[in-house]
Amino acid sequence: VEVISVLGNLLDPSLIIVLFVGTIIGIVIGALPGFTPTMGVALIVPFTFTMTPVEGLTLLGAIYGGSVYGGSIAAILLNIPGAPASFATILDGYPMAKKGEALKALYIALVASVIGGFISCIALLLFSPPMAELALRFGPAETFWVSVFGLTVIASLGTTKELVKGLLGGTLGLLIGTIGISPTTGTPRFTFGLPDLTGGVNLVAALIGLFAFSQALVYFEQLKDGVLMALEKVKGILWKSIKIVFRHSGLTFFSGVLGTIIGIIPGAGGQVAAIISYDQAKRYSKNKEKFGTGISEGIIAPESANNATMGGALIPLLTLGIPGSPTAAVLLGGLLIHGLWPGPDLFTVNADVTYTFMVALLAAQIVMLVCGALGIPLFAKVLKTPQYYLAPIILVLCVFGTFAIRNFTFDVYVMVVCGIIGYLALKAGIHPATIVLGIILCPYLERGLQRGLLLGEAEGSSIGYFFTSTISWVMIALILFSITATIVMEIRKSRKEKREQQTSVQRENIPFRQYIGSKESIIAIFFLLFGLFVYIFYASRLEQEAGLLPGSVLIIMVVLAVIQWFLARKYPITPMPGLPWKLLIEVCIVTILFIIVGQFVLGYYLASVLFLIYLPIRLHRSLNLSLSPRRVGVISLVSILFILILYISFSLLLNVPVPGGILF
């Protein structure tokens, strides 16, 4: 009833302007590598203080939705998830773009996002109070099992050959996630005496490093004169994409519902929803093996799910004051400042504001469809940027974006280190997404485990606590099913391969001396030694409670390394790829220099200008391009303009205190 009575409020022209402005800001923030939805909402929250409650909330909601969608643009075009929630979209979005169907991928992502967002907004509007109960059902035991289930998704992130390596990546991610003070004992772990590390590695900084920075290094590695990829013609693609999404309407709907439910669970945000949805889509698809090669289902599932988390995350926020995602937590400020306290009051005393906001979010989905459809051809132009600009600009955006998460220069160094780790992992055949999954899930896994053990102890049985609720048993069943399904599939595949190979070449173990120096063996030996070393000299000395998770993870890592060593002996040896190591090392050094000089001497802005002039010119040399004075002038002008825009946005509009060095 309230819904109908507030529909008229939508006709307010200022609200419509807010919807468009918010959606466009959101899409742009989402699309820029290094800039995340949480950061976007956080930076805009202060601006809403002077607006009316409905306008302020709608602006934040539109930015939230727009940025979650916008993340898919960079994921598809650049292989860099623009927002954490779009990291599953790179798995099929980028391959599809590489096939020359970038626009098709972009439109499919748009339509799937809009439908996912729609489903969750309907849920928000109609079922908020009853569904909020679900958020409360997720206690420590349930959180623990959901995290374990999330880890089984690693099996979906690559081929058989990569399965063990993917799991190794997962353990590395979990280990990175345990850095910092133990949540239940207060013991510092892996902090090396650095106070800056006591809070742990910032997830978003790690993410920007592992995906965006590492991908920029890939661009340097594969540097060629010209653009990244060709684009198809725009005409008729939107319609075609809508038809494709509707052909998979079951999957779109299922992913939307799944995303809404995962959104409701406190803590887990769009990234978890997207990857679980991708995993489910792959598991139940008829053409499993095509996932990862650029198929529509691989874009629809994560994009419908991640946009659906928004409505889901708002359900417990509005009804109970418990945010379902980090972005929703920031949105809370937009409520509080106007004296809107989450809870029953919001649906009675302030029902007018609340329902107008919800209906506006629904309308925001339509606005998003319009803005997206019109914007996609523009966004796709980014592919026309010459590569010698693109990669350096991504690096600069990584630095600024990481700093703006929480105005913390240490995060920038963390980002660079993660970027280098991510690049090496890529070269080793370990998908960075596996590491990210470990980092994302670690806090939930550990907190669920530790709190569950404490609660169980009080009840008399620590372990028993994890097997008491229905949700726990359902999750355990899902985990067991997921693992058996993977094993059965792997066995079938290897049998099939064997049958095929018997006719051709007999597979044999590669001679030991030849194998020991191969890539696969080096990976195995590295993880074996690393795991043993950290376990013996560090993890085993931690207090029992604080050391439980890191210790277990390290033991699993060592076991996996041994398995990797024996398994990979059967694979043919791939020669080490010849890489432009010199250039890559130079780029890393120059970037680190840029950050240090920027922080302490010149300030980020001036240092960025120099960086953006130096690198493109330097890259001209490696490409053997002629460098006329006019070229140099153009490069300088573009760089200065680019940084000027950053300066106006950050320093003048958003009040981000970008490091000024000693000169400013």
Partner: protein, 326 residues
């Protein structure tokens, strides 16, 4: 390029004529006679949208009237506030970078964690917020009164689960104080923030929650508040007893305020203190805070300094006696 131009235009359009002055790292202010002659940064150790941030922003909105310069909020969240306060401990002591503080965190964390800041890092300027710790249970809980709870804890040591917002924040310290006073032991479950702990209480995961009055009070009939850790009963909860009334000396609150860094010249400290107190005594400021759900306790200067020292000593003694300080 097009992307960023779009970004820029949109931002300009939406923010109107926001001319918040540019600010860089603190420059060199000339003397303190004309203080402040440039914008002041206020470090908030929590994310935008958190309660501390929202209240600090209300304060900052009034600052330009009083100081003639804007106060700009800089969010540096992480490690339960330590990221922001660690950074704060290293800023130039010229009054152009100040911080929002939370008591008792800034006093307790340095005792148990390897923080760069110490209680002495903070020169308290003015205090605005006050939120006493309360103990609450679900309406269907067997514990009708705080005495029921304490009796039950006596006969079942380490069997009653109690949640708090994190290690060594106000709620946790209140639990430790009650354990010591009553000679009992709870099974203490630390959560990440008050909202997290509240979800656990409402979901029936924990038996009791030590929470902030402001949060628990708003749940109306979804929780039963057993006792307030204040010296006197609270105006919102006239029927709920204090721990003191029941014979347990448990007084603990989460307080919010603003501080300068150690080493700031006394005249600058004085100017800031006077300015912030002037804001806090304004009726419109207090009305705004009330709306945002902040219970006010306005204090400054010598009085606040004494409060800081007293609480620092009390917490240090408590944690030492309970064996938490190594």
């Amino acid at each position: 390029m097009i992307l960023t131009f779009l970004f820029l235009t949109v931002l300009t359009a939406c923010s109107g004529s926001d001319d918040a002055a540019q600010q860089t790292n603190t420059g060199n202010p000339s003397g303190s006679g004309d203080f402040p002659n440039q914008p002041i940064q206020m470090i908030v150790s929590y994310s935008a949208g958190a309660a501390t941030d929202t209240q600090a922003r209300i304060l900052a909105q009034y600052a330009v009237d009083v100081f003639g310069q804007p106060v700009v909020i800089v969010n540096m969240e992480g490690a339960g506030g330590s990221v922001g306060w660690n950074h704060f401990s290293k800023v130039d002591p010229n009054g152009y970078t100040i911080a929002a503080y939370n008591l008792p965190h800034v006093l307790s964390k340095p005792l148990v964690e390897n923080t760069e800041y110490t209680p002495e890092t903070f020169i308290p300027l003015a205090n605005w917020g006050y939120d006493p710790v309360v103990f609450g249970v679900l309406p269907n809980s067997p514990y009708q009164t705080i005495d029921d709870l304490i009796e039950a804890a006596k006969s079942n040591p380490e069997k009653i689960t109690i949640g708090n917002a994190g290690l060594y924040v106000g709620q946790h310290l209140a639990i430790l104080m009650l354990e010591e006073e009553a000679g009992i032991k709870f099974q203490n479950i630390p959560f990440d923030g008050a909202a997290d702990a509240q979800a656990a209480l409402l979901g029936g995961t924990i038996d009791v929650q030590a929470g902030n009055l402001s949060d628990m009070y708003r749940l109306v009939d979804q929780v039963r508040i057993l006792a307030v850790a204040a010296e006197e009963r609270h105006k919102y909860l006239p029927d709920v007893p204090t721990f003191m009334e029941r014979g347990y000396n448990v007084v603990m609150s989460t307080d919010r305020g603003v501080a300068a860094v150690d080493g700031t010249p006394p005249e600058v400290v004085e100017r800031l203190t006077d300015g912030f107190l002037e804001i806090m005594n304004r009726e419109d400021f207090q009305a705004d805070m009330e709306q945002a759900g902040a219970d006010l306790l306005i204090m400054g200067g010598e009085e606040l300094q004494q409060e800081f020292e007293q609480r620092a000593k009390m917490i240090k003694d408590l944690l030492t006696r309970m064996g938490h300080v190594k």
